[in-house]
């Protein structure tokens, strides 16, 4: 994950969490209290918009979006 991608993802998490947060890349966004089920939905929509990708329904598993690192890995593979 590039530094630019991490910065963008942290900004998205801050927007959907409704507060400024700076998660550790490996930290669980759910365990840290930044995301709940509905914030996850909003985060996925923002990721699609920000990174100009359409995430297929089959890829929509909470585990894939559990941390900035996991999201970064997924997006890197998708955008390649």
């Amino acid at each position: 994950m590039t530094e630019e991608m991490q910065t963008k993802l942290a900004a998205i998490v801050s927007r959907v969490a409704g507060k400024t947060v700076n998660p550790d890349p490996e930290e669980s966004l759910f365990d840290a209290g930044y995301l709940d089920s509905f914030a996850l939905v909003d985060m996925v929509s923002e990721i699609e918009r920000e990174f100009h990708v359409k995430i297929p329904d089959a890829d929509l598993t909470p585990r894939r979006f559990d941390s900035l690192a996991r999201i970064g890995d997924y997006l890197t593979a998708r955008i390649k």
Binding site: S37, F38, L40, D57, P62
Partner: protein, 309 residues
Amino acid sequence: MSSIQSFGRYLPDRILTNADLARLLDCDPAWIFESSGIEERRIAAEDETIAAMAERASRHCLERAGSDAAQIGLVILSSATSAQRFPGPASQLAQRLGLAGIPALDLPVASAGSLFGLALASQLAPVYGTVLVAAAEKMSGPALSEPLDRNVAILFGDGAGACLVTHSPGTLGIVDAVLHSDGTYADDLRLPLSGPIRMDGRTVILQASRRMPAAISEILARHSVEAASVHSFLLHQANNNLTARVAKTLGVSADRFFLNIRYCGNTSSASLLIAASEWHEKAVIEVGDYVCFAAFGAGFHWGALLARK
């Protein structure tokens, strides 16, 4: 074209408030409302059966239609919470309505059950004549089973709904329906033979928030109907926050979505017909207006149905 003749509903008398639940779950009543949009739900009596609840809703439906049960040629009953593996409650519902001898079909499809029942009825009405579609659930038992999961326990209530579908002109013509199922997620929302409901809420919400508006868009596109021109959306009453996201995805004002979850809770398959019954008594619709039904639930099963006045 098959059409909907009338709707009916039954809600048990006992009310379980968020304050009652908060004491049981050791949580804040305000958190329950913020998480779900629910303030209270109805709880059936212990000896009240699925067939008995479905009968009450069906009789209300017949009364609203101004007709008697003798016209019914097929009974479809959706319930995922009947007391035994077999027989299901459909044949008992038919017998209670004086319809012993006519075919009665059980649909244990959970939350999308009444939508699937409506879609099936629209196809079967030309063969069987009037089809009674009922849905009844006692969700409170499994939702409040030990070990308690507060994310599950806050959601569910009990109730029943009903609808008459005929092959002659009625209140709402059934234009078309789309149904989908995907067993990939069968373990993410299930009710085992014993114990509480098991739900991975994150997966359920994530999938529902995408697939339900997609099904609605699919049925609307098939008939060149703009979402903004639909008079009312009637959804399975799962969670207010989910309904708000479906509205946002479709670009439709949330006030087009009828909601009664605040005082009924999530009654699984019964919720769509309970909501439709209440909506139908209040709504002012003109000839040509479109109404869109949609549901998503365990299985996963989901879909949408388009109807027109």
